[in-house]
């Protein structure tokens, strides 16, 4: 029985899809969240992923992010992750140096 929950929804920002994830992401639901992002986003253009309201994130989440980024690169798209350095995602990206590999910003790009 699991009570872990993540919510994925989609809005538009400057004409591009902005996909927002809230809640918790760990080894239970990382792949599921990844699929929901694929369904909500678009893999052949810029995709902005807002993780600033994620409450928990771990190495499974990082793997999911890396896969998404690789897929987007393959399709000629581009992944931008929105998070703040103080948040758990921001801290993880810095710890693992993934912030140099992914495009990370603290606000949706204009």
């Amino acid at each position: 029985m699991t009570d872990i929950q993540a919510y994925v929804d989609r809005t538009e920002h400057q004409g591009h899809p902005l996909v927002r994830v809230r809640g918790e992401v760990d080894m239970v639901n990382a792949d599921l969240v990844g699929d929901q992002i694929r369904a909500a986003g678009r893999l052949d253009g810029p995709l902005v992923l807002d993780l600033s309201q994620v409450q928990f994130f771990d190495s499974s989440g990082l793997r999911m992010l890396q896969q998404l980024s690789d897929e987007l690169d393959g399709e000629g798209g581009r992944l931008t992750v929105v998070t703040t350095p103080e948040s758990i995602v921001g801290r993880l990206l810095t710890l693992t140096n993934l912030d140099t590999y992914l495009h990370v910003t603290s606000a949706p790009p204009d």
């Binding site: 009570d3 760990d26 239970v28 928990f56 771990d58 190495s59 693992t96």
Partner: protein
């Protein structure tokens, strides 16, 4: 007047751009030349009267002044002269400055004013120039005053301590706010001392008065306290020593001070106050109390005998606040209102870090908006009671991780509020358990994972994660779990992993927040 004389006068008037008039008092009629009429925005055949000038032509702000000046000139006991600069409206709605100079003539006994004979000229450019000059002078005066204030504030900061005592077991922060730019510096101080027996001395005080005299007197008292603190047997005794010091020191005519000696091992606070506002204690569960015991008269340089002190036990996790009266006093308000405001704000802010608490109090008490005086606030957090260790056994299922995180988070919040250290702890434990879930029981039935976390006296968390399985050698996708272990290594100190036939034990330590890794 002869004709040639009259002509010469007209030349002079023309050259000066002056209009002339003769105003008949009783009739309120001004016989005016064309230039006079033009100055008042009238055509050459216009009629000028005082009533018309006061009702519409003259700028509303100048009307009353002009009317009174005219009446004064008509007073036979006065100077019988009119000299006024007034703004007069033009057709386009703009105003020009017009200087009116006139003399009154009188007839009869007692004398009654009959006429005002005078000249008027447009002086707008001269007035504007004068105003610009005034503004420049004022700006320069303001700049000089600001600079003086800046120097005084710098000096005062130099007289205050550069830092407070830094220890792993007790958090201390202090803030000094100078009076706002229009005010002088004051004589508030704060300081903290590490005493030889491991206790901590804390003081806040206030030399009454403003300016450099008060600031330098404050510097002397503060340094004296630091020098005397290790030798004084208790806070009352230290304040008594200050009486003697103040008697022999210029500029210290009247000061208030409080001093406390805190023992982090027992939570005991000995405290004394010489006319200073009472220290405030706020407990972790939101109870507050003002320390009203151990009080004596302010320091005036006269012998005050042995000053009393008092003893108080501060609860684990509580906050001790020392402050100057600037924090609680507002003009036209009784002091109890300020104390109530302080207690209320401190209770609200009690879970914040000591630095945030100091800043939050300055904001909550409206120090920036209502500042009549300089302000000091000093905050100490009593260490939390050593907590019962966290112990939990979960089955090695992925779905157990979120439950474990919630339990761990709830346990940690009994020790300290949520902060970045909480997510670090949750993350490290989560990765260690995820590792065990993935690898420990790959070849057999799902076993269990035991998690133990202790809160150490230095504020760090010591964690042990144990499984009872056999680790399968990492396969292809294991780089991900490798990353998990790397994350633990980066977040923690002293990461170790031991595998035996009985299982695997991972241990690591999460440093206290604010401590350097």
């Amino acid at each position: 007047m002869e004709r040639s004389e009259k002509e010469r006068l007209q030349v002079a008037l023309d050259a000066a751009g002056m209009g002339t008039f003769v105003w008949y008092v009783r009739q309120d009629y001004a016989a005016s030349d064309a230039r006079m009429l033009e100055l008042f925005g009238l055509p050459p055949d216009g009629v000028l009267s005082l009533a018309a000038a006061l009702s519409s032509m003259i700028h509303p702000e100048d009307r009353q002044r002009y009317e009174q000046a005219v009446l004064a000139a008509l007073d036979p006991a006065g100077k019988r002269e009119l000299r006024q600069e007034i703004r007069v409206a033009r057709d386009d709605g703009s105003y020009r400055w017009v200087a009116v100079t006139a003399r009154a003539s009188f007839a009869g006994d007692p004398p009654v004013a009959e006429r005002l004979i005078g000249v008027a000229a447009d002086v707008t450019e001269r007035v504007d120039e004068r105003r610009r000059a005034d503004e420049l002078v004022r700006a320069e005066q303001t700049r000089a005053r600001d600079e003086e204030h800046h120097i005084a504030v710098e000096l005062q900061r130099a007289l205050l301590p550069r830092s407070t005592v830094t220890r792993p077991d007790v958090a201390i922060a202090a803030r000094y706010e100078a009076g706002s730019a229009t005010l002088e510096v004051g004589g508030d101080w704060y300081d903290t001392f590490e005493l030889p027996d491991g206790r901590i001395g804390l003081t806040v005080g206030d030399v009454v008065g403003h300016g450099l005299t008060a600031a330098t007197a404050m510097g002397k008292l503060r340094v004296a306290m630091g020098a005397l603190a290790p030798h004084a047997d208790g806070p009352g005794r230290l304040l008594s020593y200050l009486d003697g010091f103040a008697a022999g020191s210029d500029g210290v005519d009247f000061a208030t001070a409080c001093y406390g000696i805190f023992d982090p091992r027992t939570g005991e606070l000995r405290h004394a106050s010489a006319g200073h506002p009472p220290m405030l204690v706020v407990t972790a569960d939101g109870q507050s109390r003002l320390l009203m015991a151990g009080r004596s008269a302010p320091i005036t340089g006269k012998p005050a005998g042995v000053r009393p002190d008092a003893t108080e036990i501060l609860e684990p996790g509580s906050v001790l606040l020392l402050y100057s009266d600037g924090l609680i006093e507002r003009r036209r308000e009784v002091i109890t209102a300020g104390l109530e405001r302080l207690e209320h704000a401190a209770v609200e802010l009690r879970d914040a870090t000591v630095k945030e608490l100091c800043d939050g109090l300055l904001t909550a008490l409206g120090v920036a908006e209502h500042r009549d005086d300089d302000v000091v606030v000093l905050c100490l957090r009593v260490p939390a009671r050593p907590a019962v260790a966290f112990q939990q056994t979960i089955s090695a299922e992925p779905t157990e991780l979120s439950r474990l995180r919630r339990l761990l988070s709830a346990w940690r919040r009994t020790i300290q509020p949520a902060d970045r250290g909480e997510s670090d702890l949750l993350l490290a434990i989560n990765e260690a358990c995820a590792n065990a879930v993935e690898h420990a029981y790959a070849d057999g039935p799902r076993g269990t994972i035991e998690v133990t976390v202790g809160h150490e006296p230095d504020g760090s968390y010591l964690a042990t994660v144990r499984d009872f399985g056999r680790w399968r050698p990492p396969a292809g996708a294991s780089s991900v779990r490798g990353r998990g272990l790397a994350i633990i290594r980066d977040l923690t100190h002293g990461f170790e992993r031991h595998s035996t036939g009985e299982g695997t034990v991972i241990t690591f330590r999460l440093p206290a927040m604010g401590a350097t890794r």
